[in-house]
């Protein structure tokens, strides 16, 4: 399953560094006490840049809903079709969500509402991405 490889930039480098260490670290605004993902230059609630810090999160979530990509446009993922694309909400803050292909779950069989936990997948030598797997 050759996934497209993320390219970090100045803003996202700490995030991907953590992922490559098998950690999920999100921005956290100490003024708003709010997690933020994907990373942004400033807190999207209060606009503060200097109150943002990186904070590890536990990596527990739930499947809110999902679709099955049957005719997508990404050349690299064509051989994978059909495949699940789930929307996973973070238990620590359900307004933060992530995409997941739900490794191990056959297409069309994603259990909506089920608990998931963080895992990691190597998409290129030395480059991991964060994924979510159903809690057995």
């Amino acid at each position: 399953m050759p996934k497209v490889i993320p390219v970090s930039d100045e803003l996202s480098q700490p995030f991907w560094d953590a992922v490559n260490q098998r950690r999920l670290a999100l921005q956290y605004c100490t003024a708003c006490q709010k997690l933020q993902y994907p990373p942004q230059a400033a807190c999207q609630v209060c606009g503060s840049a200097d109150r943002l810090e990186w904070r590890d999160v536990e990596g527990k979530g739930h499947i809110a809903t999902y679709i099955v990509i049957e005719d997508g446009r990404l050349n690299r993922r064509m051989p994978d079709q059909p495949y699940n694309l789930a929307l996973v909400t973070l238990d620590e803050d359900p307004t933060v969500n992530f995409y997941s292909n739900l490794p191990g779950v056959p297409a069309y069989q994603a259990p909506v509402g089920a608990a998931v936990e963080l895992t990691f997948e190597e998409v290129a030598p030395g480059q991991l991405i964060h994924e979510w797997q159903v809690v057995k």
Binding site: V4, P6, Y37, P38, V68, T95, N97
Partner: protein, 438 residues
């Protein structure tokens, strides 16, 4: 040229009150080109540039205005993919032709400067660059005329489409995901309003009950309305109406999103002539009046908008529009929201509470009589699903309904106000039109 950023025209915040130019700006004419599925890369009479010039000529003719009287041109230079198409939407480079087709402009792109040079406009004083898509352009022109930045302003929206599968090149062929794509593409989301809206749509079905196929009556009705629209793709290309069975057995794109939930990219252009209400009264055709325009560009709070966000956004859009127009849901006769993907239209219908439809009621509403001759002629244009991805059907139908010139599509209910848009739940703009200035 003036940049769109140089002129403060947006009405994109809450609580702005009634629009100061309400009823003082009018649309005096429109013109459509033929609508083809694609440009063949050869026929110079069917380029998006040639089609744009034709649409302009028709708009001017309808209004009884000459080229020399035009002093404003608002033209979006993006082709079919719009501002969000990215590099994947570029087909160039290609072999070019003699002027004016010696660059990409005129072939798959059009902008104000190319039109000024090619058509010989002499008195244009407002021709902004960096123009957004038509959902916002209509508001930009309205404000420009109202503020006196220009007096006789063309709004032009070209949509080019060439051979080949849509957006299969460029960054979608890349092994790497850069910029904002690093948060979506590794898992398969290459971007677009299909992805943005399918998840909230699924949540909608879970929250309120119902299933995806409950969209079938709406999609089918869009096709029916399209067959009544002489300037649309379906009408001119013999597209047969679809049945419930056709819909339910059509192939999936992003399951549960089907091919018939998606509009059809086309090669076409349209033009609208805006002027002051005072001038419009003396023009050749019956004017319709702009009662308000509004825009929005809501920021995603995380990776993927959810149903709560989408409902909040559309509630705010409705509040802004109704406040600025000095009208409420019961005052809106014609309602032409955007339907480029069928899965987003219920959010607008319920947010604006057209014909009393509240949150969670859309599927039941679709199952009723929404035909143009019935009591609830929803999306009488046929939208993009019924006419192809021109993104202009909503506007032209609204004008025709208010004028009483919609032919077989003419509604039988009152038609004195019309609300129309090219917008997604997160970004775009709305336009309220009136048969009368107040």
């Amino acid at each position: 040229m003036t940049s769109s950023n140089d002129f403060r025209w947006r009405r994109d915040t809450d609580g702005l009150g009634v629009w100061e130019h309400r009823g003082k700006v009018a649309i005096a004419g429109y013109g459509h080109s033929p609508v083809d599925r694609r440009w063949d890369g050869v026929n110079l009479d069917a380029t998006v540039g040639a089609y744009t010039m034709l649409a302009i000529e028709r708009a001017l003719e309808q209004a009884g205005v000459t080229i020399d009287q035009v002093d404003g041109i608002v033209c979006c230079d993006s082709h079919i993919a719009g501002g969000s198409g990215g590099s994947a939407s570029q087909w160039a480079p290609r072999p070019y032709f003699d002027p004016p087709y010696d660059t990409e402009y005129g072939l798959t792109l059009v902008n104000a400067q190319w039109l000024i040079n090619t058509m010989g406009f002499k008195n244009v004083r407002f021709a902004p660059t960096g123009v957004p898509t038509i959902g916002e352009m209509m508001g930009m022109a309205s404000q420009a005329v109202g503020d006196g930045v220009c007096n006789t302003c063309l709004v032009i929206y070209p949509t080019g489409n060439l051979e080949g599968r849509y957006r299969r090149g460029g960054e979608n062929a890349d092994d790497y995901a850069r910029g904002a794509r690093q948060w979506t593409v590794p898992w398969g989301n290459h971007g677009g309003n299909d992805f943005i809206n399918i998840f909230p749509h699924n949540q909608y079905c879970l929250k309120y009950g119902g299933e995806h196929d409950d969209l079938a009556p709406f999609v089918i009705n869009q096709h029916k309305n399209g067959m009544l629209t002489p300037w649309g793709f379906n009408y001119n290309n013999g597209i047969e109406p679809i049945s419930v069975e056709d819909y339910r057995t059509s192939r999936y794109i992003l399951n549960p999103l089907r091919i018939w939930d998606c509009d059809r990219p086309v090669n076409a252009s349209a033009a609208y002539l805006f002027t002051t209400a005072e001038r419009a009264r003396d023009m050749k055709s019956q004017p319709v009046y702009v009662l308000n325009h509004s825009q929005h560009n809501f920021r995603f709070r995380t990776t993927q908008p959810d149903l709560d966000e989408v409902e909040m956004w559309t509630d705010r859009q409705a509040a802004r529009m109704y406040e600025g127009a000095g009208l409420g849901p019961a005052d809106v006769d014609i309602f032409n929201p955007y339907d480029g993907y069928s899965i987003m239209t219920q959010f607008f219908l319920e947010g604006f509470q057209w014909h009393g439809v509240k949150r969670g009621d859309a599927f039941a509403f679709y199952a009723g009589d929404i035909s143009v001759k019935g009591p609830h002629p929803f999306s009488s244009s046929g939208g993009n699903l019924g006419n192809g991805r021109t993104r202009t059907a909503m506007y032209t139908d609204s004008i025709e309904q208010l004028r009483g010139t919609a032919g077989d599509r003419q509604v039988t209910v009152r038609a004195e106000t019309a609300l129309c848009a090219f917008t997604t739940p997160s970004s775009g703009g709305w336009l309220m039109l009136g048969k009368h200035p107040s």
